[in-house]
Each structure stands twice: as C-alpha cells, then as structure tokens.
C-alpha cells in the first residue's frame, strides 16, 4: 500500500534516480531506484500504485479550458480523460491490474487569484475520474494557495508531498490540447 513518507531507503543500494514528470506527461516504472518528482501549482498529479505488481506511475496535468460555448467553470474533460487513460494504460502494460490500483492526488492550488479557479476545477475533475473508474483514492492533498513538490517512488508506493515557494511551480496558464492528437480520423 501507499506509505505517506519517504525514509532513507535501506533496500535501495544506489542513489535514487530522479525523473521529473513534466506537465502533460505520464511516467510509469517498476525500478526500485527510480523516484518520480514534480512541482505543482494549479496542476494536479495523480500517483497510481499496484502493491502486488510493485509498479507505480505519475501524471501531471493542467486541463485546457473547454471549447468556446462551454461553461468557463468547466475543464476539457475529453483531454483530461485522455491523460488519465494514458497513465492507466501504461500501468496495465507493466502488469498492474485496475482493480488493485491505489491512488494519491496532489496539487490543484489556486495560486493566481486573478485566474479562474482552475486548480479547483482540475482537482474536482481528478476526484470524479477516480470515482467513476472505481479506483481507490487513499490520500489527497489538494487545494489551498501554495505550490507543492511531490516525490514518488513507483516501485514501493512511497510518497512525500511538501509545500514549496510558488516561484518553483510551473506557469499556471492552461495549455491547449496537443495539435497531434485531436481525434484525427483515418478510414481504411
């Protein structure tokens, strides 16, 4: 199961290999020395862990605002669901089972008071996704106004979340959907 803190790892002989998870990315690993790390402002990171397969993964997303004509309080659920599915599929590809997945959610701060509450909207989307998918949310640290740094060891499920200076968080402008994958259709 998930553990809430990272202790000096007696079972890891080598120094941890830190890999930064950037906005829009999803990374999965079963390597004991790997530590996934990210800094979040309004963004949200979902950490998934399968305690039987000893594999874990993290994504980092800030959902684009919805298309014109949609309520501005909403987020782009098509893109959000896609980013979540990317992470889940990578986990399944490494031997995880969906029914065994345990989830942590972090981030979703409303760092910039002049913007819409995009952090809250992203956090609500992530919670709703986990609920719909039947994935167990075992810990969350969401909302507020402070940026967070998350360090996650995917092979053990150990995670540490701490607040950091806002200047360390990436810019809070929602990114547009990737131009490469916007539902292009190819008929054979």
């Amino acid at each position: 199961m998930f553990e809430s803190r990272i202790f000096p790892a007696a079972d890891v002989a080598r120094a941890p290999e830190r890999i930064t998870v950037m906005q829009g990315q999803a990374l999965v690993s079963a390597e004991p020395q790997v530590e996934l790390t990210t800094v979040l402002g309004s963004c949200v990171a979902l950490c998934l862990f399968d305690p039987d397969a000893r594999v874990g993964g993290m994504n980092h997303f800030l959902l684009a605002e919805p298309p014109a004509g949609m309520p501005t309080s909403a987020v782009d659920e098509h893109y959000g669901t896609y980013l979540m599915e990317l992470l889940v599929n990578q986990m399944l590809g490494k031997g995880a089972r969906k029914m065994r997945l345990k989830a942590h959610l972090y981030g979703g701060a409303n760092v910039n008071r002049n913007m819409m509450k995009i952090g809250t909207a992203n956090a609500e989307f992530a919670r709703g996704f986990l609920q719909r998918e039947g994935i167990d949310l075992v810990r969350s640290d969401l909302g507020g106004t402070a940026a967070r740094r998350v360090d996650f060891r995917p092979a053990s499920g150990q995670v540490r979340c701490r607040t950091v200076e806002d200047r360390l968080a990436p810019p809070v402008q929602p990114i547009a959907r990737p131009a490469m994958s916007t539902g292009d259709v190819e008929l054979f």
Partner: protein
C-alpha cells in the same frame, strides 16, 4: 437517417464511455455500451447494431481480438468497426487494419469528427 443508427461503444473506462455516450446520443444516435470485448460479443449475440466503436487496451478480450472474432463469422463481416484509442503507433494501426477495422481514431476524440466518421461508415 442518423436517428436510426445503432452504435455499440466498447471501452473499459466508464469515463470514456460516458463521454462517447454524450457525444453520440446528443446527435440522435442509439447508443449501447460494453466494458470489454467479451461483453461486446455477448451483447452482439443478442442484439443488432450498425456501427461498433471499440477501444484497443481492454481486459479479457482487447480490441484486436474483438475485431478478429467479429470478422470470423458472416454476420459481422461487413459491419463498420471504428477503433478509438490512445495508441498512436503505426504498428498498432496496421494490426487493426489487418484484423479488419474500418477506421482508426486517436484519442482525445473530437465529437464532431467522430460523428462525421460514424455517419460516413454507417450503411
């Protein structure tokens, strides 16, 4: 015409099925849902459909297996089957084509493009 088109969506993600259901029913399509390839085969054994839209990565029976099973018999040999997937590799696309898929759509899907594709392949 589209009001009579019956679609089966096959995806293991309830979130994705909900998005598909909303996008298609709002355009007047008659939509049914299955959570994987086995559930789709069970449903298709008892029901008629005009178009199948299927994910690739699913438990029990994936999208490739579903397409192959449907193409084995005469009943669904010419049924339009659209693949809707996060997979972007040419290898996977080629495998879907060889299995007998009618088209390939990459997620995140654009509802308008999806509806246009369904209308184009529906007979």
């Amino acid at each position: 015409m589209s009001n009579n088109t019956r679609i089966l969506t096959v995806d293991d993600s309830p979130s994705m099925r909900a998005l598909l259901n909303h996008a298609l029913t709002s355009q007047g399509f008659d939509v049914s849902q299955a959570e994987d390839g086995i559930a789709a085969l069970d449903w298709l054994a008892l029901n008629e459909v005009d178009v199948v839209i299927t994910d690739i990565n699913m438990p029990r029976l994936d999208g490739f297996g579903l397409i192959e099973r449907l193409r084995e018999g005469s009943r669904h040999r010419d049924r339009p089957i659209l693949v809707l997937t996060t997979e972007s590799s040419e290898e996977k696309k080629a495998r879907a084509r060889e299995a007998g898929a009618t088209g390939w759509i990459v997620k995140p899907f654009d509802p308008q493009k999806l509806v246009a594709a369904v209308r184009r392949v529906a007979h």
